[in-house]
C-alpha cells in the first residue's frame, strides 16, 4: 500500500518534536478524523535579509501517511524564505514519497496546510502583511473545522442515545 520511501519517513521521521518559543504554530486536523498535525516554526534571516524558516518541528497524531508527509514538509520548508515556503503544496510533498494511496492524498494537503497555518500565525502575530491567498486558505480551514465539529457533534449525540448500556 505504501512506498518504501513513505515507510522510511514513517520509521525515522525527520524534525519531530516541539520547538521552544516558536514564532508560529500551525495546528490542523481533527482527532475524530484520525489525523492531527501541529507544526512549529522559528523565523530567521538569510544573507539577503529575507525572512526564512530557520527551524521547524512537528508533532503528529495519525496514520503512516500523516507522519511521513509531516516529515517531508519539514524537510522541504527548512531554510526556505517565507515566500518560497508558501509555494509548497501537495504535489511537492508527495514527490519524495514517490506516491501515496489515493485515500491518503489528503494527508499531504494537511501537511501543507499545517505549514501555511504556522506562517499565517507568525505573520498575524507580528502584524505583517498577509498574502491574500494565505488569508483565503486560513478562512477555508476555519470553515472546514466548523463543518467537522458540527458533523461529529450531531453524530456523537445519536450514538449516545443509541448505545446507552442496556
Amino acid at each position: 500500500m505504501y512506498t518504501e520511501e513513505t515507510l522510511r519517513h514513517f520509521k525515522n521521521p525527520h524534525n519531530y518534536g516541539r520547538l521552544k518559543n516558536p514564532d508560529g504554530i500551525g495546528k490542523v486536523g481533527n482527532l475524530n478524523c484520525g489525523d492531527v498535525m501541529w507544526l512549529y516554526i522559528k523565523i530567521g534571516q538569510n544573507k539577503k535579509g529575507e525572512e526564512i524558516i530557520k527551524d521547524i518541528k512537528f508533532e503528529t497524531f495519525g496514520c503512516v501517511a500523516a507522519l511521513a508527509t509531516s516529515s517531508v514538509v519539514t524537510d522541504l520548508a527548512k531554510g526556505r524564505t517565507i515566500g518560497q515556503a508558501l509555494k509548497i503544496g501537495k504535489s511537492e510533498i508527495i514527490k519524495p514519497l514517490h506516491n501515496l494511496p489515493p485515500l491518503k492524498i489528503h494527508c499531504s494537503v494537511l501537511a501543507a496546510d499545517a505549514l501555511h497555518e504556522a506562517i499565517y500565525d507568525y505573520l498575524s502575530k507580528n502584524r505583517k502583511m498577509i498574502p491574500d491567498e494565505l488569508k483565503k486558505n486560513h478562512q477555508r480551514l476555519i470553515k472546514e473545522k466548523e463543518i467537522i465539529e458540527e458533523r461529529y457533534k450531531e453524530w456523537v449525540g445519536v450514538e449516545e442515545r443509541l448505545h446507552r448500556r442496556s
Binding site: 500500500m1 505504501y2 515507510l7 514513517f10 520509521k11 521521521p13 519531530y16 495546528k27 482527532l31 475524530n32 478524523c33 484520525g34 489525523d35 492531527v36 501541529w38 508533532e59 503528529t60 497524531f61 495519525g62 496514520c63 503512516v64 500523516a66 507522519l67 485515500l103 461529529y152 453524530w155 456523537v156 450514538e159 449516545e160 443509541l162 448505545h163 448500556r165 442496556s166
Partner: protein, 390 residues
C-alpha cells in the same frame, strides 16, 4: 550478514494457514480424483462420493442432517444467500428483517441492498461489551418479520452472543433465525437443533482449511431461493461446479478443530488472558474492547489512547509482528469501525484500536516477544504525537 527478521503472525481472525494434515487430505482431489461431481462415469462418481461424505461429516459436527448443508465459496456468499434468499422466498409473508449493529460488512451491505428493494431493516444495538440483549430481540419482532440474523462471535471484538436464547425466541415467534458463525465454527461447540438455529454460516479459511470453501446450514423446511442459477448443484440452491478439494479440506479442518477444541480453547484462553493482563499493566491508557469473559479464546481487541491504529500496525510490522486494526476488510477505508462505534467508542477512540488474534501455532514465546515490543511501538508513536500522556 543480515539479521533474520522475526515474523510472528497474530492475525488468525483475518485468515489462517492451511494445516498440513488438511493439505494432505486435499491432495488426491487435485490430481487423481479430480472428477466433476455431475459426471456419470467413475471419475465423477468418485468425486460425488467424496462430496457427500464431506457433507455428512460436517453435518454431524453441528448436529444437522446432511441434506441441510450446502457448500458455497465463501462466508460472504453464504451470508448473502441467507439474507437475500430468505427475503426472496418469504416476501409474501412479510418484508421485515432484523440484524445487529455489529454484523460483518457482508450482512450489513446485503441488508442495505434489501432495504433498497423495499424491505424494512431493524438494526439492534449492543451494550458496551458488544452484547445483544435477547429481550431487545423479542421486542423488535413484528408480525411481518421474516428473518433475524445475528453474528455468533464478533470478528472484531470477539464477543459471543447468547444465540441459544435468541434462537428460542425466534422459534417461539415463528421467525427464521440465521447466525454468522464464521469466527466461532470450529472454536465453540455448535448444535443447530439444540440452539434453535434455522440457518448458519461457517467458513473454511478461518479454521486452517483452504480459502474458497464455506457452508450454509439450512434447516429442513426453510423456504429459500437460490442466488446462483444453473446446473442445479447443492440441491438446486447453489449451481456451480463443485470445488471438491476445498470442500474436502474444509471438512478435514472442521474435524480437526472439533477433536482439538477443548484442549486448544484452554491453551489459547490462557495465552489471551496473559497478554491482556500484561498489556494493561505495562502500558498506560489501554482499554480492552469486547466482553471480558464472553469472548473468543483467540481474540484480543484494545484501544490505545493517543495512538492511531494504522501507525501501530505498521510499527509492529517493522518489529516482525502481524496484527490488524478492526477487521482486515475495513482497514483500507478511513472510517472508524462500525463495531467499535456500536459499542460506544468515540471516533477518535475507535481510530486507536488494535486486534490481536491467536491461533494454532501461537506460542508462549511469541506472546512474550509481542509483550516486549508493543510498549516500544506505543511509546514511539506517542512521542511523536502532540497529545503527550504523562
Amino acid at each position: 550478514m543480515k539479521k533474520k527478521v522475526k515474523r510472528i503472525y497474530l492475525d488468525y481472525a483475518a485468515t489462517t494457514p492451511v494445516d498440513p494434515r488438511v493439505m494432505k487430505a486435499m491432495q488426491p482431489y487435485f490430481t487423481k480424483d479430480f472428477g466433476n461431481t455431475m459426471s456419470l462415469h467413475s471419475f465423477g462418481q468418485k468425486a460425488k462420493e467424496a462430496l457427500e461424505e464431506s457433507r455428512q461429516e460436517i453435518a454431524n459436527l453441528i448436529n444437522a442432517d446432511r441434506k441441510e448443508i450446502i457448500f458455497t465459496a465463501s462466508a460472504t456468499e453464504s451470508n448473502n444467500l441467507a439474507l437475500k434468499g430468505v427475503a426472496a422466498a418469504n416476501k409474501e409473508k412479510g418484508k421485515h428483517i432484523i440484524i445487529s449493529t455489529i454484523e460483518h460488512t457482508c450482512i450489513i451491505e446485503s441488508a442495505k441492498w434489501l432495504e433498497k428493494e423495499g424491505f424494512a431493516i431493524t438494526r439492534l444495538p449492543v451494550d458496551q461489551d458488544g452484547m445483544i440483549n435477547p429481550e431487545v430481540v423479542r421486542q423488535a419482532i413484528k408480525p411481518e418479520t421474516i428473518l433475524i440474523s445475528i453474528i455468533h462471535a464478533s470478528n472484531e471484538i470477539g464477543t459471543i452472543q447468547p444465540i441459544e436464547e435468541i434462537g428460542k425466541i425466534c422459534r417461539a415467534k415463528g421467525v427464521y433465525f440465521h447466525t454468522d458463525a464464521s469466527q466461532s465454527f470450529g472454536k465453540i461447540p455448535l448444535d443447530a437443533k439444540k440452539m434453535n438455529i434455522d440457518l448458519l454460516t461457517a467458513s473454511s479459511h478461518k479454521i486452517y482449511g483452504p480459502k474458497g470453501a464455506a457452508l450454509l446450514y439450512i434447516r429442513q423446511g426453510i423456504k429459500i431461493e437460490p442466488l446462483i442459477h444453473g446446473g442445479g448443484q447443492e440441491f438446486g440452491l447453489r449451481s456451480s461446479t463443485i470445488n471438491l478439494p476445498a470442500i474436502v479440506g474444509f471438512t478435514e479442518a472442521a474435524k480437526l478443530c472439533r477433536e482439538e477444541m477443548t484442549k486448544e480453547t484452554r491453551r489459547l484462553t490462557a495465552l489471551r488472558d496473559e497478554l491482556i493482563k500484561n498489556v494493561i499493566q505495562t502500558i498506560k491508557g489501554v482499554h480492552l474492547n469486547g466482553h471480558p469473559q464472553k469472548r473468543l479464546a483467540n481474540n484480543i481487541n484494545f484501544w490505545f489512547e493517543f495512538i492511531e491504529g494504522e501507525s501501530l500496525v505498521y510499527s509492529l510490522n517493522e518489529l516482525g509482528v502481524a496484527v490488524s486494526t478492526g477487521s482486515a476488510c475495513s482497514s483500507a477505508k478511513l472510517e472508524p469501525s462500525h463495531v467499535l462505534l456500536a459499542i460506544g467508542l468515540k471516533p477518535h477512540q475507535a481510530h486507536g484500536s488494535l486486534r490481536i488474534s491467536l491461533g494454532r501455532w501461537t506460542t508462549g514465546k511469541e506472546i512474550e516477544y509481542f509483550l516486549k515490543v508493543i510498549p516500544l511501538a506505543v511509546e514511539k508513536l506517542r512521542g511523536i504525537s502532540p497529545f503527550k500522556k504523562n
